[in-house]
């Protein structure tokens, strides 16, 4: 079996210098002595595919076959419920004219609902966030409840659907037409903005298989989406402003319209699109350092499945490559990763309303807020999430949240400690080690680090109660001890990784 593994790695075009950094192939991961199905890999899966798991979920997953677990998680994401249309959907600009508060509250309410859904159905939620950051449309530019509803509905219904349909639908959404000036793109005054981003950001990647001429001609094919009688109404297609003349796109001449353009794009540029999108998925879900060979194989799956997203995800998350040690802990948590993983880790049930609002505030301050990707290219992720201000900000905010968790439900921490140690114990070093290993992606490399943390966990309890074995996890001091320890753990640099 090992020989087989080596063979596959030999075919890799990017040989690694260090053997320990090697990652497996896309072939299905089968637990083995060298790659056991253990807590670390389960946490890895849950954190990457969604926003983490609690101790019970992790324990349960140990009894599952990893293939089945991945299938199940993806199936759950596919069948998660779609929001029903809100009652306010029919309200128009006149209804809101004298009532800005209502407009604000409908928008805020929907953003909160979006976030709450992201927490509840977190595999789909994470994908929606991913696609939101791909098909960026900043809320400020289309600030109207029904536009938000429609934009989010496309994300929610297509996150695990067909990518070609995704692009097709997004380009016609009012939110996008407003954000990237499709609404201004007429046969009289073509506007290239959307055409450029369609290629550069949404499908092909910068300077990858298109020319400036292609953009100009594409913009013309995209004209006509200009009919908005009133603010608040969906933008409709109008023959009057559509450019019916001949265009040359990717060397093909014709009187191309919106539908035909997309047909051409997805038949002529299969390799570019599939590689570009799979690389983006790979960097977000597996490793910020792309592995071109793996990405090309995923791209092939994408094309073979006619742009269906789910098969790519299944192949990826079931692979030996995904579960390879060298891919564990290499992603810097986004602000949403940071908070939502924390809540799952400590089994804390977020209440809708105030707490959801608080998450908006926290993540917003740290540079990530739904509806407000930093620019048209989206959040760049990885190391751009962290600088001195935002790292200390992460510590400070999360510290408060840890304290708040203890105060709202002190038993959470006691139960967590009991679950992680498996049974009550009177050895603070054991508890400390289990808790650290639980929160960090990879165990700390020196015993001194565990010793220091153990001292933190002991808090102000005189040493003799540990020496004589009197202390145990039933002590009333345990929630506070856990609070201190977790506040310490979140400041360990490795905690920023997953």
């Amino acid at each position: 079996m090992n020989i087989e593994l080596l063979k596959i790695q030999e075919t890799s075009s990017t040989p690694m210098e260090n053997n320990t950094c090697q990652t497996g192939s896309l072939q299905t991961y089968r637990p083995s002595d060298t790659m056991p199905w253990n807590e670390q890999r389960i946490k890895h899966l849950y954190k990457r595919i969604g926003f983490g798991a609690g101790p019970d979920q992790i324990k349960k997953a140990l009894t599952f076959n990893p293939q089945n677990l991945v299938s199940q998680l993806i199936q759950q994401a596919i069948s998660a419920p779609i929001f029903q249309a809100p009652e306010w959907l029919a309200l128009n600009h006149l209804d809101y004219k004298e009532n800005e508060d209502l407009l604000n509250s409908n928008i805020n309410g929907w953003m909160h609902k979006w976030l709450a859904d992201m927490v509840k159905h977190n595999v789909r939620g994470k994908l929606i966030l991913f696609w939101h950051n791909h098909f960026v449309a900043q809320l400020e530019t289309y600030y109207f409840p029904s536009y938000l509803y429609n934009y989010h509905r496309i994300l929610q219904t297509t996150a695990l659907g067909n990518f070609r349909d995704f692009v097709y639908e997004m380009g016609k959404s009012t939110a996008m037409l407003l954000f990237l000036n499709g609404a201004d793109n007429t046969k009289y005054e073509p506007n290239e903005n959307y055409a450029r981003e369609l290629y550069e950001l949404f499908t092909l990647g910068r300077d990858n298989g298109y020319t400036q001429k292609d953009i100009e001609e594409t913009a013309r094919a995209l004209t006509g989406w200009n009919n908005m009688p009133n603010w608040g109404e969906a933008i409709r297609f109008s023959e009057d402003t559509f450019d019916k003349d001949q265009k040359t796109i990717f060397g093909l001449k014709g009187n191309w319209n919106y539908d035909q353009l997309h047909e051409i794009l997805f038949t002529r540029k299969k390799e570019e699109i599939s590689n570009f999108i799979c690389e983006k998925i790979y960097k977000a879900y597996v490793n910020p350092e792309p592995d071109k060979v793996i990405i090309a194989q995923l791209a092939q799956t994408f094309v073979d499945n006619d742009w269906e997203i789910a098969p790519v995800l299944r192949q990826l998350f079931k692979s030996e490559h995904f579960f390879s040690e060298a891919n564990i802990g290499v992603i810097i948590k986004s602000p949403y990763d940071l908070f939502l993983n924390y809540f799952n880790e400590v089994d804390y049930k977020i209440t809708e309303g105030e707490e959801i609002g608080a998450i908006h505030y926290f993540t917003g301050m740290l540079g990530q807020e739904l509806g407000l990707p930093v620019d048209v290219a989206g959040w760049q992720g990885n190391r751009t999430w962290i600088d001195t201000a935002r790292l200390t900000g992460r510590w400070r905010i999360l510290s408060w949240k840890v304290y708040d968790t203890m105060e709202k439900s002190p038993n959470n921490f006691t139960e967590l400690a009991l679950k992680l140690t498996g049974e009550n114990t009177n050895d603070p070093a054991i508890v400390t080690q289990k808790v650290i290993d639980y929160f960090l992606p990879v165990a700390l490399h020196t015993p001194e680090l565990y010793e220091r943390a153990t001292a933190i966990f002991k808090t102000d309890i005189p040493q003799n109660y540990f020496d004589n074995g009197e202390w145990n996890l039933n002590w009333d001091s345990v929630p506070w001890q856990m609070t201190s320890l977790i506040q310490y753990i979140i400041r360990i640099p490795e905690y920023q990784l997953m």
């Binding site: 910020p288 810097i332 908006h360 200390t392 408060w400 933190i456 040493q463 506040q487 640099p493 990784l497």
Partner: protein, 538 residues
């Protein structure tokens, strides 16, 4: 069996103390918790975010008014005073109460005919003979609380036993000296704690801990050596290792105190090889003092004094460790010529029961002696009334004869040279002073300083419609600037930027849709003085 139950009872007592703490926190608003929320004892963990962001170049090194340093040596768990400062004046009664634990004459050295110390404390005899050691007898406070945690908090807050004061007396000093601590923290760490959980002594009113604290002396020594919070050597392999290095280096950059710590540490050395846990802590303190860091207060901790059992073996060893470490510390300081600048003082949450228990130990008690060390004590000796073994409370504990706050008040006024009236304000009431301690500020180059002179009343007020007002009272007309800043120290909006007349002012901070709910600070500048305070936008 009986004693086993007793000890179990002590454990339950801890629980009660913790519950009390929780209730205390619950009663306090969301805001008040933000400070304690960062209570994890990692070196930089307690500092407000702005403190870790500020560049050392933004402000010239602050002049310290005096070179004097106060070192608190915490004997954690409740030191047995009667087996530390042994009452030879009532020796037979002492032995009667303590048939197995009482120290035999052969185990004692005499400080005077009336007072002995265990022979394991002999390393202190040189300090005693050189006139550098004072013992304050029988120190405590009214209505002694027997919970470790609660009593330690009382010692930190210097409040009455029935009052719940979240701030510590030193935290209050720091907050007064640096009213804008959150947005403009001092360039020198105002206090450093080594060992033990972050102590509430350093809490301000908002329960923000304003000290640097580390559990492990190696940790601070390491940082001082390398100038790094986290080592950049010895990182894991592969891309994971690169990511770890990246986050570590950002964390290192965020902690500007690393620079001054490192500078002080590297420019000095220890003249003696310290031993033991307390010795290691004091070794680092000595280097930072000798390297002229400028920090005024250090706190070190020796754990293990909760001697419910086997005290006969453990307690003398702890005192030996204490004695050797203190002796070495002062020798080390004298080689650097700094021994005259350093006053050290032992503190402990309580003493122990007069009568020994059935498991060769002692249970939680009340009054106990404090020991002070330093070259400026003007002779060794005793201060206050020695304990009367017959004057006991209903539990059988010693009734205190000197309030610990009289010692603090004396040290604050006569060692750290704070204005007397202000010391009373700081401690919440006026305590008598102990001139017998021998310390004074007369030879100090700077006279008593009035850190309260620019006190200004200011607060955030919450109105029912969800708006927030910043309220402040100007004693005289001044240029005023009021800004709202977020948790990361970024300005959100400016509310006032103009000259204002004396009197009360109130400025509204309207909550708009674009401003998310959560914690913010206001930063109030009056003339050249800046104040800041957190508030919550709901």
């Amino acid at each position: 069996m009986k004693n086993k139950n007793q000890r179990y009872g002590s454990a339950l007592q801890h629980g009660t103390a913790h519950n009390e703490d929780h209730e205390r926190w619950t009663r306090r608003s969301f805001l008040k918790k933000v400070g304690i929320a960062s209570g994890a004892s990692l070196l930089f963990g307690n500092l407000p975010v702005a403190a870790s962001m500020r560049s050392p170049l933004t402000k010239a090194l602050e002049d310290s008014e005096t070179d004097r340093v106060l070192v608190l040596i915490r004997l954690k768990g409740g030191n047995d005073g009667l087996n530390t400062i042994v009452p030879l004046y009532d020796y037979s009664k002492y032995l009667q109460y303590r048939p197995t634990l009482g120290l035999k004459e052969s185990e004692l050295s005499k400080l005077t005919n009336a007072i002995g110390i265990p022979k394991t404390m002999d390393p202190l005899l040189s300090l005693w003979e050189e006139g550098q050691m004072k013992v304050v007898h029988n120190v405590g406070y009214p209505e002694q609380n027997l919970s470790h945690f609660r009593s330690a908090d009382i010692w930190s807050s210097a409040s009455d036993a029935n009052a719940f004061e979240p701030s510590g007396w030193y935290g209050r000093i720091i907050a007064e000296e640096h009213p804008d601590f959150l947005s403009n923290p001092p360039i020198i760490p105002p206090a450093i704690q080594i060992g033990g959980a972050a102590n509430s002594l350093f809490n301000d009113e908002e329960m923000t801990n304003l000290a640097i604290s580390v559990q492990n002396p190696e940790e601070i020594a390491e940082i001082a050596k390398t100038g790094h919070l986290f080592s950049l050597a010895n990182t894991p392999d592969c891309y994971y290792g690169e990511q770890v290095s990246f986050v570590r280096s950002v964390a290192n950059n965020s902690f500007f105190y690393a620079g001054v710590l490192s500078e002080a540490y590297k420019s000095s050395s220890n003249a003696v090889e310290y031993t033991g846990a307390l010795g290691e802590q004091l070794a680092t303190v000595a280097r930072l003092i000798k390297g002229n860091l400028g920090t005024k207060l250090y706190m070190v901790t020796l754990d293990g004094f909760d001697t419910h059992a086997n005290q006969g073996k453990d307690h003398p060893q702890l005192l030996a460790e204490l004695s050797v470490a203190v002796r070495d510390f002062y020798f080390d300081l004298s080689v650097g010529g700094r021994d005259k600048d350093v006053l050290s003082m032992s503190i402990s949450e309580f003493g122990r029961r007069i009568e020994e228990n059935g498991s060769k130990g002692t249970d939680h008690g009340a009054a106990a002696p404090m020991m002070l060390f330093g070259a400026e004590l003007e002779g060794s000796g005793f201060v206050g009334e020695a304990p009367n073994l017959d004057a006991v409370d209903e539990v059988g504990n010693l009734e205190h004869t000197t309030d610990f706050r009289t010692v603090y008040a004396t040290v604050l006024e006569n060692w750290l040279c704070l204005d007397g009236a202000k010391v009373d304000t700081l401690l919440g009431q006026s305590f008598s002073r102990l001139p017998e301690l021998g310390i004074s500020c007369t030879n100090q180059t700077t006279s008593t300083k009035d850190i309260f002179k620019q006190q200004l009343k200011h607060e955030a007020r919450y109105s029912s419609n969800g708006n927030i007002q910043v309220y402040y009272e100007l004693k005289e007309g001044a240029f005023v600037n009021v800004q709202v800043i977020n948790l990361l120290g970024q300005p959100v909006t400016t509310l006032v930027n103009s000259y204002q007349a004396s009197g009360a002012h109130q400025v509204d901070f309207y909550t708009k849709r674009t401003i998310a709910k959560g914690q913010y600070f206001y930063r109030l500048q009056v003339g050249d003085r800046v104040y800041s305070q957190p508030f919550l936008l709901r």
